[in-house]
């Protein structure tokens, strides 16, 4: 067994997701990204003397939606607590969060792995908190912008149930998908509204005790998650094999060097002095409110998958791929709505589009081929204007240029030939040019039908309607 196989990784993820509300968590500032520094602020989120927090009701609803979608237990009473520490982007000198009594605990999410298996990952807890501002460290000092301070967050803490970087990646994707589907979070990692930290340790397979864990921060894209985790796991394994002790520390992913590096030399244990925030009453989530939130829950990925399966007669696998992201599902539905051909749409999206998008490193929302364009292509196949084979060529060109199928077909003269007269001419020409094959065919070598069809197709530059051609060749040969 290799060194790495001797060990297993133990991975837990903490995700901070910004909630899609109109205003901040505890004040009336707009919840929006990208304003000029310190223009999206007020006395409350800048911690002015005398300011007080008031809870954003919608933020609580979205948080409860998330907990419901993640099968969590939702507590009818929970408490906001102050987490006290000093940092420039924390204007009050404390963050309003939840500590001993979060609003939800004990949930789970089922993820699909690449080997087709499903794994259930536990969710320890989800709680509300407010986001901090941003500090930019320049050579001459630190600049603090409080626009982001006070934005509503939920922190989703997983059980340390993941054993490979792949599982961690799938967990994140599944979580991301649920939050997007349910209109809870925008999920834009680059804009910072879906952030992930990982806690990683390793131990010998079969061992009961956990190893020393290292916190990995700064994972700000899906691309890096698996790479970073894999690197860290390997780093720890090699360290242990070399007789080194794993130091409990915080590391960050350096995407330029493809390594994890130490962020903080010594892990200083913070004494946050948590206590219930005396400016806020208990958070009460009544059962009637909970019922209402459940009723208003948007469609979740697994529900969309089931619906696609039934509506478009798809396999489990196909349905789950097409609903793996909300954007993709919406794209697919748009294609079907226009083309009216579920199976074909699924086929084209999954087998032609996705592969090319992956290779080009693009997401569905930057697809060079729009849903309407793809639908048109499918319609042209179904109407007989072009053959399926030709369509593939057309699609290649559509992906490269974003042009409509119609324009490409016209430019390249690829319209399928269905005119019997023209086809007959071509077939007769081929028959005449191949007398010995004709004789062999007549003598009983019926397999040569394929040869004649192939040649006739070549003669028509591949534009012959395949089924018509096939029929015609047979008819003319048997004459």
């Amino acid at each position: 067994m290799s060194e790495v196989e001797k060990y297993e990784a133990v991975i837990g993820l903490e995700v901070h997701a910004q909630l899609m509300t109109a205003s901040k968590m505890f004040c009336r500032c707009p919840n929006q990204f990208g304003s000029l520094p310190n223009t999206n602020v007020c006395p409350v989120c800048t911690g002015q003397p005398g300011s007080l927090p008031v809870i954003n009701k919608k933020a609580v609803e979205l948080g409860v939606r998330a907990a419901t979608a993640l099968n969590c237990e939702i507590h009818s009473e929970s408490v906001f607590a102050r987490k006290n520490y000093f940092y420039p982007d924390l204007p009050k000198g404390y963050q309003i969060s939840q500590y001993e009594k979060p609003y939800s605990t004990h949930g789970n999410i089922t993820v699909r792995l690449k080997n087709g298996e499903e794994k259930r990952i536990g969710i320890t807890r989800i709680h509300f908190e407010e986001d901090a501002g941003k500090s930019n460290h320049e050579s001459y000092g630190t600049l603090v912008n409080l626009n982001r301070a006070g934005v509503p967050l939920i922190e989703i803490v997983s059980e340390p149930d993941m054993r490979t970087a792949h599982e961690a990646g799938q967990y994140l994707r599944a979580l991301h998908s649920i939050l997007r589907y349910a209109d809870i979070c925008d999920g834009n990692m680059e804009e910072g509204n879906f952030r992930c930290d990982a806690n990683i340790s390793v131990r010998l397979r079969g061992a009961e005790k956990f190893g020393t864990k290292v916190e990995l921060k700064n994972i700000n894209s899906f691309k890096f998650v698996e790479k970073a985790i894999e690197y860290e796991v390997q780093r720890q394994v090699f360290a242990i094999e070399n007789g080194e002790k794993i130091i409990q520390q915080t590391r960050s992913w350096n995407s330029a060097k493809n390594v994890t590096e130490v962020m903080r030399e010594k892990e200083q244990a913070h004494d946050y002095r948590y206590f219930p925030d005396p400016d806020l009453p208990k958070l009460v989530i009544s059962s009637s409110w909970l019922d209402q939130i459940k009723k208003e829950m948007p469609e979740l990925p697994h529900q969309a998958s089931l619906r696609f399966k039934q509506a478009f007669d798809l396999s489990d696998y196909d349905a789950s791929v097409l609903t793996s992201s909300k954007e993709l599902a919406q794209y697919f539905e748009k294609v079907v709505a226009q083309s009216k051909n579920g199976k074909s749409s699924a086929n084209w999206v999954m087998n032609e589009l996705l592969g090319r998008l992956n290779a080009a490193g693009k997401e569905i929302d930057s697809s060079p081929v729009s849903a309407t364009q793809l639908a048109e292509l499918i319609q042209k196949i179904d109407s007989g204007e072009i053959s399926g084979k030709i369509a593939k060529t057309v699609f290649e060109e559509m992906f490269a240029t974003s042009k409509d199928a119609g324009s490409i077909i016209k430019e390249k003269g690829l319209v399928q030939i269905s005119d019997l007269g023209a086809l007959e001419k071509a077939v007769l020409k081929v028959i005449e040019s191949n007398p010995s094959q004709l004789a062999d065919y007549k003598a009983g070598k019926v397999k040569l039908l394929g040869f004649f069809v192939g040649q006739a197709m070549k003669e028509t530059k591949g534009q012959a309607n395949p089924s018509l051609l096939n029929e015609l060749v047979k008819k003319l040969l048997d004459r």
């Binding site: 001459y140 603090v144 912008n145 806020l280």
Partner: protein, 96 residues
Amino acid sequence: MLSRDEVLKIAKLARLTLTEEEIAFYQKQLTRVLGHIQDLNQVPTSNETFVQHVPLDAEPFREDKAEPFANHEGLMGNAPAVENNCFLLPTIVEHS
């Protein structure tokens, strides 16, 4: 008696630089007050972790409506140092 180290530890947690005189003063006064409050140990109490002081008819929620605050100049006007409309700390802050 609270030790000098303990006083310094508290002062560090609270981000308070103290003079020698202050350290001695706080050592004495904190010890006195903490001594006095030991009387609470005489009171048998239950295990409640949350004592309600807020009126039961208080309203913890507000509707999710954005209302931008108008007086930004007022907020920035009290800042000790500003650069590009950001609060400026003229020291290197350690990553945290």
